[in-house]
């Protein structure tokens, strides 16, 4: 592979490339790529490996996993993965179910997508917040996400809307790339977003800026909601969120009065201690302003017509043996995540998994099979994670490189990158429902695609519900379209998914009442507050003033830069050269008062641990707030700062934003 160039004719990207994609050759041919399966020799973590064949390695994995399943039940094996925009992650769920373990987990999960997925489902029976109809919108409210650094094709549509005259409101503690282009920037105190949204609702409702007809026809619970938000005057919201009262009022008015308007969100809604509330109130904002399922608002994804892999029919949770199914770790404390309820693929709760490994309660987890995930860096409380991985009797890790997690493994399996596999990409998040073909252009060592690895392993484990080959799988997905993968690949490889507006308005929303539930009957049924409410974060200048004396700054973690994706790519030359070090966003006057200059090494500490990074003083952040990036290894790992013992009610999120910290210059 020689060159990667933008393709302006592509319907999804319109030529907007991501530099990580452009740098793919440096990933493909990187000297440190894993190329053959490795089996550990010597003590764990020492880095001594012997090369082996796929058969030997997979035989070992199969033998180990089966033996644990036999001895302690399949629930003693945890299958964990990272995130992805292809379909292998759904195949992974099917693999876990077929094996029989209820304990599949995702590094994101409760910290990404699960909370807002649930909140949107109980509110409007679908995930409309994921789909702002940017091209047709007149006002975009960007909540905490930074598309220019995280999602170039979507960002292109956003900037095009802006150029066309659409107004832009950005909520973010830091004046991010997109916030720099906004008509209004609301620097919310990390962790207090719900108060800001309730403040918006207060303005919109008391000034009667909501869409009365839409609310009357399509929503239930408005009166109760209106009553609830009365107390959240702009003044109160301003005091809580540290945002100007005037800005709050003007932004609320702008969003409600401009039509149509839409809301752009991402995992910022999930990484807090009250993620359900936040996604609920943001969903409600879109709803009362009459912007759900309308052109230019937040819409429901279309489909190209292929087999939906994002469904229980595909992931087969019913294949889990009955007695194991009820044992999913986290089901008791975090039913919204781990119990079989509506709106989610139930998954195991990572902190509960860690506890099980370390304490053996409620039962010991003995082995893990990890694909495309790096829990050592991605999960809160890295120290505990390390302890747990070390204690496992068996760990298999599949990755492109010897990640921090792979270093702890007994078996390391080399994965193929996107250029090394044929495939289908149809993630509604990535391609807006459009189905597209991925073509293999290279081979690196003996690396195999994740799906191929699972197919082979399924064969060795004698699991049903799997295919003979990857192309069989691809054809299986395409069956409803009456086309084979080869035929699709021979053409331009794209099947579009047109957006349909107003279908749910007409047919009813997929909620118990058939309407948008501002007052959620499902939450009420499950024993949670049916209306959104604000609670001060468990750790804040107001809820823990004593702690705030030693840790005076409010911290947001997980700041993104375009060069990296989560914990990966720090070893790619061009990307590392442009973003060589992790940067701390810190207010200029604050930095000056602490004797910190631009480029100085600084230490950020919380009661749980510390990290070292480089200071970037800016006026684009509140003097009492700092912004920390995510995904760096060793002493720059931000999950040394985070805690996994206090988790969000019901859904089990480990909060990653809105905690307290202190900052000092490194000696």
């Amino acid at each position: 592979m020689k060159e990667i160039t933008p393709d302006r004719s592509d319907p999804v990207s319109q030529g907007a490339v991501c530099p990580k994609g452009l740098a793919s050759a440096q990933l493909l041919y990187h000297p440190d790529r894993l190329t053959v399966p490795l089996i550990r020799e010597g003590p764990r973590g020492e880095g001594k490996w012997r090369e082996s064949t796929w058969d030997e390695a997979l035989d070992l994995v199969a033998e180990k996993l089966s033996s644990f399943a036999r001895e302690s039940g399949p629930e003693s094996v945890v299958m964990a993965r990272g995130t992805n925009r292809g379909s292998w992650i759904r195949v992974f769920n099917r693999f876990a179910s077929s094996f029989g373990t209820p304990n599949w987990a995702e590094s994101g999960g409760a910290q990404c997508y699960a909370p807002r997925s649930l909140a949107q489902t109980v509110t409007f029976g679908g995930r409309a917040l994921e789909w702002p109809d940017l091209s047709n919108s007149e006002c975009v409210l960007v909540w905490g996400t930074n598309p220019p650094a995280t999602w170039p094709p979507k960002s292109r549509k956003l900037m095009a809307a802006r150029k066309r005259g659409a107004r832009l409101i950005v909520v973010d503690p830091v004046q991010s790339l997109i916030a720099s282009k906004a008509d209004a920037w609301l620097p919310v105190r990390p962790g207090s977003d719900v108060a800001l949204a309730l403040g918006f609702l207060n303005v919109i409702i008391t000034e009667r800026l909501y869409d009365e007809e839409y609310v009357r026809k399509y929503c239930i619970g408005f009166d109760k909601l209106a009553q609830k938000v009365l107390e959240f005057t702009p003044k109160k919201a301003s005091e809580i969120t540290w945002v100007n009262e005037k800005s709050i009022v003007e932004a609320a008015r702008l969003f409600a009065k401009t039509k149509p308007s839409c809301i752009e969100v991402a995992c910022t809604l999930d990484e807090v201690i009250d993620p359900i509330q936040l996604s609920r109130v943001v969903s409600i904002l879109a709803s009362v302003t009459g912007n759900v399922d309308v052109r230019g608002g937040n819409v429901f994804p279309g489909s190209a017509g292929q087999l939906p892999v994002d469904s229980r029919a595909f992931s087969l949770p019913d294949k889990i043996p009955a007695e194991s199914k009820e044992k999913r770790l986290g089901a008791e404390l975090y039913p919204l995540l781990s119990k079989n309820l509506k709106g989610n693929e139930p998954m195991a709760h990572w902190p509960s998994i860690i506890d099980s490994v370390l304490t053996g309660k409620p039962y010991p987890v003995r082995a893990m099979f990890i694909m495309g995930g790096n829990p050592m860096l991605s999960l809160a409380n890295s120290g505990k994670v390390r302890e747990a991985l070390d204690k496992l009797e068996f760990l298999s890790v599949t990755d492109l490189f010897m990640s921090k997690t792979a270093e702890m493994a007994d078996v390391v399996l080399p994965a193929a990158s996107w250029l090394e596999q044929d495939g289908i990409v149809d993630s509604t998040q990535a391609t807006f429902g459009t189905l597209r073909v991925r073509r293999k252009v290279a081979t690196v060592g003996e690396a195999l695609s994740d799906i191929e690895i699972m197919i082979r392993l399924a064969r060795k484990l004698r699991l049903g519900n799997f295919w003979d080959s990857e192309s069989d799988y691809l054809n299986y997905i395409l069956k409803p379209l009456n086309i084979t993968f080869e035929v699709l690949k021979s053409g331009n490889g794209i099947i579009e998914a047109p957006v349909v507006y107003g279908r749910r308005l007409e047919e009813g929303f997929r909620t118990p009442s058939g309407k948008i539930e501002l007052y959620s009957s499902l939450l009420e049924e499950w024993g949670y507050d049916p209306l959104p409410f604000y609670e001060e974060p468990h750790q804040s200048p107001y809820s823990t003033p004593e702690l705030a004396r030693s840790y005076p700054f409010v911290m947001t973690t997980g700041r993104r830069v375009i060069e990296y994706f989560h914990t990966g790519l720090r070893n790619i030359p061009v990307l590392r050269d442009v973003a060589p070090v992790p940067l701390l966003d810190i207010n200029r006057s604050t930095a000056e008062s602490l004797g910190i200059d631009e480029g100085d090494r600084v230490i950020v500490e919380t009661p749980y641990g510390s990290m070292t990074l480089t200071a970037k003083p800016t006026e684009g952040i509140h003097p009492k707030v700092v912004g920390v990036p995510h995904g760096w290894p060793d002493d720059a790992n931000d999950n040394q700062l985070t805690d996994n013992t206090t988790c969000a009610v019901g859904i089990g999120t480990t909060p990653l934003r809105g905690m307290l910290c202190r900052v000092r210059r490194a000696p």
Binding site: Q26, K163, S180, V578
Partner: protein, 196 residues
């Protein structure tokens, strides 16, 4: 032939895709950026204004780098582009100092961080000064400079000012394009619009 570029600062969102695309295409070494983005910030929290300004070789009509070069390594080629003949450069760095636009950098073949492999191609220019060459090879092949092509927001427009139909000419005149540091008197060929 009078190549020029127009950069729309209203569209530039500081994503650095162009910086990275340029580095990939030209295989530059550690710390070397032929094109870069600088961030300009004004005001105090929360009334802050921020702009992202792409910089590159401005292809000045009165190129100071050419005047000061003692060896003739910096010269203007047949496409009218200011270029460096690396074989003639002695690495005195006078041109770096003379350039008002931070376009030039000395190649000291720096090591990448631990775990990051070297981009060997950039080492061939060890000891000399390098800069953006306006993708003269791509221009000769009828393509656009890689920074122009890779910008997701089409913030960069490229063309020939001698061509009456070209967008650049119209944009410079119509949209009030300005050059940076006009007091330096170099008469750059890169114009900026969308400046507020």
């Amino acid at each position: 032939m009078k190549y020029a570029m127009v950069i729309d600062l209203d569209q530039c969102v500081g994503c650095e895709t162009c910086t990275i695309a340029c580095k990939l295409d030209n295989e530059t070494g550690v710390g070397i950026k032929w094109g870069r983005i600088i961030e300009a910030e004004e005001g105090t929290f929360p009334d802050v204004r921020r702009a992202f300004v792409p910089l590159l070789c401005m292809q000045c009509e009165d190129a100071q780098c050419i005047s000061v070069c003692p060896t003739g390594a910096s010269y203007r080629n047949s496409q009218g582009l200011v270029q460096i003949d690396y074989s003639k450069c002695v690495g005195c760095k006078y041109c770096i100092i003379a350039c008002p636009f931070m376009a030039r950098q000395f190649n000291d073949a720096r090591d990448p961080p631990l775990g990051v492999p070297r981009v060997a191609a950039g080492d061939s220019r060890k000891g000399v000064v390098e800069k953006c060459d306006f993708c003269s090879d791509r221009l000769a092949a009828g393509r656009e400079p890689v920074c122009v092509e890779s910008c997701p927001y089409e913030a960069r427009i490229f063309g020939d000012l001698d061509d009456a139909n070209s967008r650049v000419g119209k944009l410079v005149a119509g949209a009030g394009g300005v050059t940076l540091k006009p007091d330096a008197g170099s008469r750059p060929s890169v114009y900026y619009i969308g400046v507020r």
